[in-house]
Symmetry: C2
Subunit: 346 residues, 2 copies
């Protein structure tokens, strides 16, 4: 039974959030109301906080999509979940009527509706979503760890699109939160992973997590990778830095026929060494969000401990403290993933 | 039996060739002497002619690698060809001792020896080559047409690396000799091919060959491709122009999950719209020369008429006129492929 009033955190512009009581949305046919347990703060949410996405999200938006929760109420014609089940939401709603959907690429639908940006998201006690977006979790999965499934699914998609095989050499360029998750998933696939990063706090975290680290501001990255790989270079390179030096490095460290995965969002158009693409038959693939199979893989990795959730989660704050949580994350050089504990007794 | 003296055309620098008598090379063990029938002039040979490759080829080099011929003499331990057989040479000799060779990518060996550039080539009556570089032709294949096998194999490699499937929409950006061959091979695969080119003489040739043509200097290429493809975009894009506008266009015309093949050699580092790679999960693959399977495919296409050889071959000149043939090709806006008839009575 859904109570009439719930707490929800509204973005109101200029780095500000306000927690207010609002009406819980009763699920219509094909929808499910989820009681939100935890919701992580995504880099995209930080972009909202900084005002960079006001045109898209407006000034009265409940953000949040990296969530976990339990099924609270079920609308008509829903068969894929049961009351009380632990679930996560894959926050993508597609149009089923565009060339991308026609080709089965629903996750990059031309009119994609991203829940928590284009509609209200999970920073509220009850989140009502289309049933097709739900993935059911194992009963014994911790809901704080489960809030990592969405970002881990991003990493699973990135690694799957790289076609990484066991024993291959991997370089992750950029050791921020997504880079670290990509590194962890690539290691779970059996890759031999090196993390390249210039921020010393991030390097320390990557090293603590057991990765070989290189600071390209201090040593010659290409020479180091050649030494490590017996002059072969990296079979797979993930460009997660979003910088011109990162783009320069990606072609330098790649092996002949190396596969480069473009994880970062480059708003500018960087210069790329296309000659190296020709000379060594490199390939580059752009990757965006995830598909259902990536969510299932991420659930399995979280459930099996393939990602060190306790190290990745660096802060947990109640919904009432969401303002401080965003402010703190914005200032922290070492934070990886901050969670908001939305349900008071989760 | 090999005569002592043969005619050979030597590049002597600054757009000059000299035809002189030279000693035919008797095949050593593992080698085969081929009596050269025809040899096409490659774009790379034109780079040599212009002096751009003097550091690599020197000033006394016999160029040429787009050849056809017959087996004239066979060294010891050669089992793959017989005397008198029609053959073409795949002009790549690999080291068998580098990471690329270790991975089976012999055609992009780190110490690749390109016959006709790094060693003397086919613009001579007898060309002695490693036996493993030979492909045997059908007895009834015309040797002038067979001289197109090498450039067609380039196109076959490009199209194979694109994973083109029947019925897919293809845009070839750049309608020069290689672009036209790529377009022909893509059509042979069942692709629906559009050629984008600004040179009106080349557009006329592409149209004569039955391709849909677009001049992006006159119409909006992206809008045209969207109209042709029902707003989907091109499944496969071949960038053959080697220009920044071509690189800009390649991301604009590609469909969601479109595959872009980098055929052109970009000596500069162009700016690339990486955001589109992310947003629509585009991929880019660099391609270089060919593998044995591409030669076999090219032989089949030439034998079956899948490439209109008579339209592609726009000039044939005897070896004694090689200087004029290069000079003419350099000046011609409409020439596609000039052949040198090396064997007087081929």
């Amino acid at each position: 039974m859904i109570e009439t009033k719930i707490s929800a955190a509204f973005y109101r512009g200029d780095k500000s959030f306000v927690v207010e009581q609002t009406a819980a949305q009763v699920p219509n046919a094909g929808e499910v109301a989820v009681r939100v347990a935890y919701c992580g703060i995504c880099g995209t949410d930080m972009h909202v906080y900084h005002g960079n996405m006001d045109a898209r999200v407006g000034l009265n938006r409940v953000v949040g999509h990296e969530m976990s929760g339990t099924v609270e109420a079920i609308g008509a014609n829903v068969t894929n979940v049961k009351m009380g089940q632990k679930v996560v939401v894959r926050p993508l709603d597609h149009c089923n009527d565009c060339p991308a959907c026609d080709a089965g690429h629903f996750h990059i639908c031309h009119q994609l509706n991203f829940l928590g940006l284009d509609t209200d998201g999970a920073m509220q006690e009850i989140w009502t979503v289309p049933a097709h977006t739900l993935h059911v979790l194992p009963d014994d999965l911790r809901l704080d760890h489960a809030a990592l499934i969405e970002p881990v699914a991003v990493a699973c998609h990135d690694v799957r699109m790289s076609d990484l095989k066991e024993g291959e050499d991997v370089v992750v360029i950029g050791g921020g939160p997504i880079g670290i998750l990509v590194a962890m998933v690539a290691r779970d696939y059996g890759g031999r992973v090196v993390v390249s990063e210039v921020n010393k706090a991030r390097l320390a975290i990557a090293q603590k997590l057991g990765f070989k680290i290189i600071n390209p501001a201090e040593v010659d990255l290409k020479a180091e990778i050649n030494t490590i790989t017996g002059e072969k270079g990296a079979d797979v390179v993930f460009e997660v830095s979003g910088t011109q030096p990162g783009v320069d490095a990606m072609t330098e460290v790649a092996a002949t026929r190396g596969r480069i995965v473009m994880v970062a969002i480059h708003a500018q158009k960087p210069k790329i060494d296309l000659f190296q693409f020709f000379w060594r038959e490199l390939s580059l693939v752009g990757v965006r969000v995830y598909e259902p199979v990536d969510y299932e893989k991420a659930i399995g990795i979280i459930a099996s401990g393939g990602v060190d959730a306790n190290t990745v989660i660096t802060d947990v704050a109640p919904l009432s403290d969401i303002q401080k949580a965003f402010d703190d994350l914005d200032r922290s050089p070492t934070a990886l993933k901050s969670l908001i504990k939305v349900e008071a007794d989760a």
